[in-house]
Amino acid sequence: MATKVVERKPLSLAERSYLPQIVSGLRVTMKNMFKPPVTLEYPDERPDIPPGYRGVPTLVKDPDGREKCVSCQLCEFVCPPKAIRIIPGEIPEDAETAHVEKAPEEFEINMLRCIYCGLCQEVCPEEAIFLQDIFSVTGTSREELVFKKDKLYALGGTLPDSHFKWEKKKSAELTGNPHH
């Protein structure tokens, strides 16, 4: 490898004394002292969560309080760290939402495994799982950090439904376009 010798300009006396450089450095830091702080005083101030932020995955209910998840297990399938575990179950025939037929019997997300990739939200055909704005999860044991269904619904709350698929289905069953 060829060595290239870089010609360096000899330092002037002022440069060698180092003092002008110190002064310019001091000027920079002094300027900085009068700028407002760039930090966020976290527990008092909360950061603005931008739309599309991927926080803790949660399950949501529709405005009628029906659980949207039908336990299709696509999220369990797509989950890269295998954090999601679903036991599917059947909705009993006499339930109000019996026309949906299927709902999770148990839905677990292991928050110790979750990598917040958002693939579950992306894959969900029922728009039932959302990575919302919760970014801080704490717990005192491993078991506590395996979020069960009730906890996931408590975190998720209710989100507006954009297409009312199942309501439409029910109304079609009750009134519209019947056979005979």
Binding site: C72, E76, F77, E93, V100, E101, E126, G176
Partner: protein, 569 residues
Amino acid sequence: MSEGQEDKRIPIFVDDEEVKVDPGTNLIEAVAQAGKEVPHYCYHPKLSVVGNCRMCLVEMGMPGRDRATGEPMLNDDGSPKILWVPKPVIACATNAAPGMHVRTESPLVKECREGVMEFLLVNHPLDCPICDQAGECRLQEFATDYGRGYSRFIEQKNVKPKRTRLGPRVMLDDERCILCSRCIRFCEEVAEDPVLGFTDRGSYTTLTAFPGKELANNYSLNTVDICPVGALTSTDFRFKMRVWFLKETDSIDTESSVGCNTVVGSREGKIYRITPRRNDHVNDTWMPDSGRALYKEVEAENRLAAYSIEGRPCGPDEAMSLAATLLKGHRVAIVGSGRLSVEEQYLLRRVREAIGGGPPTFLVGRTGEGDGKLLSADRNPNTRGAILTGLIDELPKEDLHDLAHLIAEGGVDTLLVAGEDLTMAGVTRDQLKRVQIVYMGTHHNDTSSVAKVEIPALTVFEKSGTFVNQQFRVQKFAQAVPGPKGVLFGLSNFTRLLDTLGGGKRIAPSPANVWAEMSGDVPEFADLRFEDIPRTGSVVDDARFAHLPFPEGPGFHFNPKRAETIAGA
């Protein structure tokens, strides 16, 4: 293939590529032989052709001949001129003819498929997320592969009954049904129990069971298998697990000597369902419903999962050494089982030889009524294996009164029981209490409760091996799930017992090694290696056993050689 057969095959041209097929082959199969796919719903290779789904439309043409002269018509470049049928034809109902040309990828064909898919999806509900068929649904697959990709349908979809109970094991969702009629034809042609039919017309056509009837025959779940969509679902498997999670393992139905080929679907050590595997020599694509529930024995409550001596849990070595002490130098009787694999039966024979003194050996016979299809009279899956391996010479009896006599006379000190409950076979508990029992088995029962040594064994789903079915067909099954914690894997129970007894050369506890041993001892297996047995099984010579009155009557792909055999006894 001999010269004569070669001549019979006829050349056809699939997308200008020549392929030779047997005469009478329809175009779906012919195209499949050319390595291409014609999508289809109603066509099923083992059912009659009705051609009502219209999905398999292809373009077909024949080389033209001049009517006047009979000379082949030629193009300008000298190639034969193909006269294309102006409209598409359905490939399932069109048989190959010499020189026939087929187009499977032309714009017309694609347009046809898109049109058919669009019509099929018109009234199909959007409930893939809750549909059990999702993942193995032909409608999903073909909509992806051949569909239009978007919907133009803005009207309301038809509402049809969902959750109809067709029978004890089958649920029907009429909205999902695409009216292919496979289930109707199956019930008529294979199950011979015609209970299904369509009512109403047009978009309102509804599949239903005839009034007062239900789909309750022992083959009803096959309709679920052949349903290309999620209209028919199994009550047992319904909403249990998505199919894409299931690991599929080849296995064998153990409920009778037919030995239906099956696929075991399991996830993380838990079995969720058993479905038939196509074997044109044994069970086509069917299996009885009763065989599909057998996986439940794996997690049964009375499962035996620990080595124990007089009810006290112990390690396998301790149990083996006590068993060897009880067997060696005592008057022993052995009870084998027709449910053991060929390898286990052979190793049991070796155990008998290691004990020495030619202890009497029994096998518990099980017979039931054969249904003339896929459930034979011999309800042991591997009676022929026991005979082939030399464990027994005669056909087993259901009642072991010979053994009972022997015990009553005090001619037996130790009983080695492999996988059978003797109280069900004519030996009383009191008699059993008079002898010391070494019990190897998968479940607790009355015999194990009086056993001195209990050795837990693996079910068919937890080990690999072979069974020999009624056709003397050696069929392999593979391990689908791990055995219970603490139970020795594979054939280790037998090889370890053999070692403890001092059975000479040690045998590694894998089927392949046992087969290597067997090829010397069993003439029928001399040229057969475990690795070489194909998925469809391998038939061995049964000439040595022609004199034995096997109980099986005729069934699918099976005709008993002895006419005097009592059918269904």
